[in-house]
């Protein structure tokens, strides 16, 4: 057991594999935040007056707010005046095919093991389609497959492009799910968001490929404030994947994104995230603060939203992808794997707000903690008074890899309708010494054994990821576990 502990300890001490930095000439605003900066961001992006005003309203509101302290996470106070709120690569190449991509960018993706080359290969071999809109240091660098998408009337572009080309859609839906008054970080984002992705699927259209965005945080001291808006019109379907990783940094970097999903009558949105931002070094220094607001609304009857996330990165994660089940017979799902190591802290979970009749929600959360990390599940299930026959099933499992880590579960249930049925199950277990030994006896070293066991533990969630990315996510889990032992 002593050796096992030593191995487990090593697991937790693995240095971040993807640490590097890329030198792309940045065009950035000075540090700090005030109305001028907000106006400057808006001006740089050539935004219409209403959007500038919206940003300013958000900024003024933000000034009246307090940073929240209720999450089970600890971090030094953030100096919001010490952050650069806008930074963009100077060149913004227009690219029609994969091989026209900036070489440095390609190299970056290759380091991540999720190169565009691989995407291309996937395309040819499996006939699978992945459209990538790479958000590189706040601004979209490239968009592929526009043609195929355009034929179907699907809009998939950077947020800034959407503001220019589809202002009516942006104006109608921006802030409709996450209003600018929502919470401290979402409000900040509303004031200063730099870019992000926009997606609109027209009525009755089934998006023929996975839509995918890779986020990277690059320039020093650059806060990331992405804004994503996905709208599925009636009876449409879309599967969207967001995957990210970041270079190694000494100073903590704030990331406060907002994702809004709107699912109209009979439509379905599947939103998957693979998150691998720099978690800080083994002493808890550096790493990304990931304070994200993600929310979807099933606005019309029979709509469905599912969130699937695999979270292995960030120093601090504060994130609750949520569903507002407004229409009757709507469905909300949340499948999550959160891995924490070293001094990482995660407070994550979901909110399922049942408003319509016969609404159904499912929550499956798998927390894996190692080292001295803290992993909390926080979930709210609220059944409104008109939500007749609402159903919820929640299952929260925690797996501990060390004696020094923490796993916590905070389930909140508010039931306003007596026909509702809400079930909550929770388990906590330690990775079994006997399981590891069994694997050892079959020739697998302890590192591989833990990789296998953890992947098996998360299978229910990994299975929900789109095929193309399930393998990648598995790889990521194993990679983050790899160093943890041996």
């Amino acid at each position: 057991m002593a050796e096992e502990n030593a191995l487990l300890k090593e697991f937790t001490e693995k240095e971040y594999e993807y640490g590097w930095s890329i030198d792309i000439e940045a065009d950035q605003l000075p540090k700090g935040l005030n109305e001028d900066i907000v106006r400057a961001i808006s001006a740089k992006k050539n935004e219409p007056e209403w959007l500038t005003e919206w940003r300013l309203k958000a900024f003024r509101y933000w000034l009246t707010m307090e940073e929240p302290t209720w999450a089970h996470v600890k971090y030094p106070k953030i100096d919001f005046q010490d952050i650069i709120y806008y930074s963009a690569p100077k060149k913004k190449p227009e690219i029609g095919s994969l091989d026209e991509v900036d070489e440095e960018l390609l190299a970056t993706f290759e380091k991540l093991g999720i190169s565009l080359e691989e995407q291309k290969r996937l395309l040819n071999v499996a006939g699978s389609n992945v459209a990538v809109d790479a958000v590189f240091d706040s601004v979209s660098v490239k968009t592929t497959f526009q043609e195929t998408l355009r034929e179907k009337g699907i809009i998939f572009c950077s947020f800034s492009e959407a503001v220019q080309n589809h202002p009516e859609l942006v104006k109608k839906y921006l802030g409709s799910v996450v209003p600018y008054t929502d919470n401290y970080y979402a409000t900040l984002n509303s004031a200063v968001f730099s870019d992000g992705s926009f997606c609109y699927i027209p009525k009755g259209v089934r998006c023929p490929m996975e839509l995918s965005t890779y986020f990277r945080i690059n320039a020093m001291n650059t806060g990331q404030f992405e804004r994503t808006l996905v709208i599925a019109d009636e009876d449409s379907y879309v599967s969207y994947l967001e995957g990210c990783t970041a270079p190694q940094r000494d100073e903590n970097q704030l990331h406060a994104a907002v994702v809004e999903l709107v699912a109209l009558k009979g439509s379905e949105i599947k939103y998957s995230t693979v998150q691998n931002w720099f978690p800080g070094d083994k002493n808890g220094k550096g790493g990304i603060y990931n304070f994200v607001t993600k929310r979807g609304i099933c606005a019309g009857d029979y709509a469905k939203i599912s969130w699937t996330q695999v979270e292995t990165g960030s120093a601090i994660t504060w994130k609750y992808p949520s569903c507002i089940l407004k229409g009757d017979n709507t469905i909300g799902e949340f499948y999550s794997v959160a891995v924490t190591n070293n001094y990482q802290q995660a407070d994550t979970g979901t909110k399922m707000l049942h408003l319509g009749k016969n609404t159904k929600s499912t929550v499956i959360s798998k927390g894996i903690s190692a080292g001295k990390s803290n992993n909390s599940y926080r979930g709210l299930v609220r059944i409104g008074k008109n939500a007749t026959n609402a159903r919820n099933f929640s299952q929260c499992d925690s797996l501990l890899l060390s004696d020094t880590c923490g796993a916590h579960t905070f389930p909140y249930i508010e039931c306003g309708n007596k026909t509702a049925k809400v079930e909550h199950e929770a388990t906590t277990s330690k990775v079994g010494e006997d399981q590891i030994f069994y694997c050892n006896q079959r020739g697998l070293d302890t590192e591989q054994a833990i990789g296998l066991i953890v992947n098996g533990y998360c299978k229910e969630v990994l299975n929900k990821l789109p095929m193309e990315f399930a393998v990648e996510a598995q790889k990521l889990l194993s990679v983050s576990l790899e160093g943890s032992v041996g």
């Binding site: 399981q435 030994f437 050892n440 006896q441």
Partner: protein, 254 residues
């Protein structure tokens, strides 16, 4: 040269001495049966040989295929060709048997300087071995031992053994929990895998298994030592008379 040579092996668990000077020589091509009353140390022996860290070796030497076994990590012992069919196989939820065996076979092959098998060849190989122990495709596709019946788990152990083609297999009460048909199937599997180059150490309480897997030697383990060795007739004698007479003789000798 013997395949496995155990000299004066002493081991303890939780401050308690279990093996108290254990000796055994196993040559390629041989089948050894180890019998003995409950708690005499049979599974402890198996655990120590497999490298379970809960068991502390306090004295003695073990060489396996000419190498110092006690010096190797458990996974290296496995890759060197030592296999243990567990008395109580563990479940690994969510990890498919196929995936598990793919990783294990790849490791063993790597250790022998071989490339991993192509997916197609691997599946063919797996199917072959599955048939050998009549393990249904359904079980092979499920998570490792998860929800398997006692007998199914035992059969899965033999299946894994067939996949890994060890030089030495230790079967710890693989027969217990098996119905008559399964017992015959498992024994047939072992007999088909038996060759002049490999060896088996079969731990059992029942003579019945030894009707199918005929041992070259039968040893009685009692109180941490081998107190009697003989041929298969010894097993018959034990079946008939129990262990008391041996215990008495040991007491008298002491």
């Amino acid at each position: 040269m013997s395949l496995l040579s155990i000299k004066n092996l002493k081991a303890r668990v939780e401050e308690k001495d279990i093996l108290k000077g254990f000796n055994l020589e196993v040559n390629p091509g041989e089948v050894h049966a180890i019998m003995g009353p409950n708690g005499s140390g049979k599974s402890t022996l198996a655990s120590v040989l497999a490298g379970n860290e809960n068991y502390e070796v306090t004295d003695g030497e073990v060489t396996f295929d000419g190498k110092d076994l006690l010096d190797m990590d458990p996974e290296v012992r496995a890759r060197e060709g030592l296999f243990l069919a567990f008395q109580y196989p563990v479940e690994i939820p969510g990890v498919s048997n196929v995936n598990f065996m793919k990783s294990a076979v790849a490791e063993v092959r790597k250790h022998r300087g071989l490339e991993p098998l192509e997916a197609k060849d691997f599946l063919k190989f797996m199917k072959e071995k599955q048939q050998l122990v009549e393990l249904s495709g359904n079980l092979a596709g499920r998570s490792v031992n998860e929800g398997f019946s006692g007998g199914e788990k035992k059969r899965n152990e033999i299946f894994q053994m067939a996949m890994l083609e060890p030089k030495l297999a230790i079967l710890d009460e693989t027969d217990s929990g098996l119905d008559i048909d399964a017992l015959r199937i498992v024994a047939n599997g072992v007999n088909k895998l038996k060759s002049k180059d490999n060896a088996f150490v079969v731990i059992t309480h029942y003579q019945r298994l030894l009707d199918y897997i005929v041992p070259d030697f039968v040893h009685v383990l009692y109180n941490g030592r081998i107190v009697r060795s003989g041929t298969k007739e010894l097993a018959l004698e034990l079946e008939e008379k129990g262990y008391d007479w041996i215990k008495d003789e040991v007491a008298a000798e002491a």
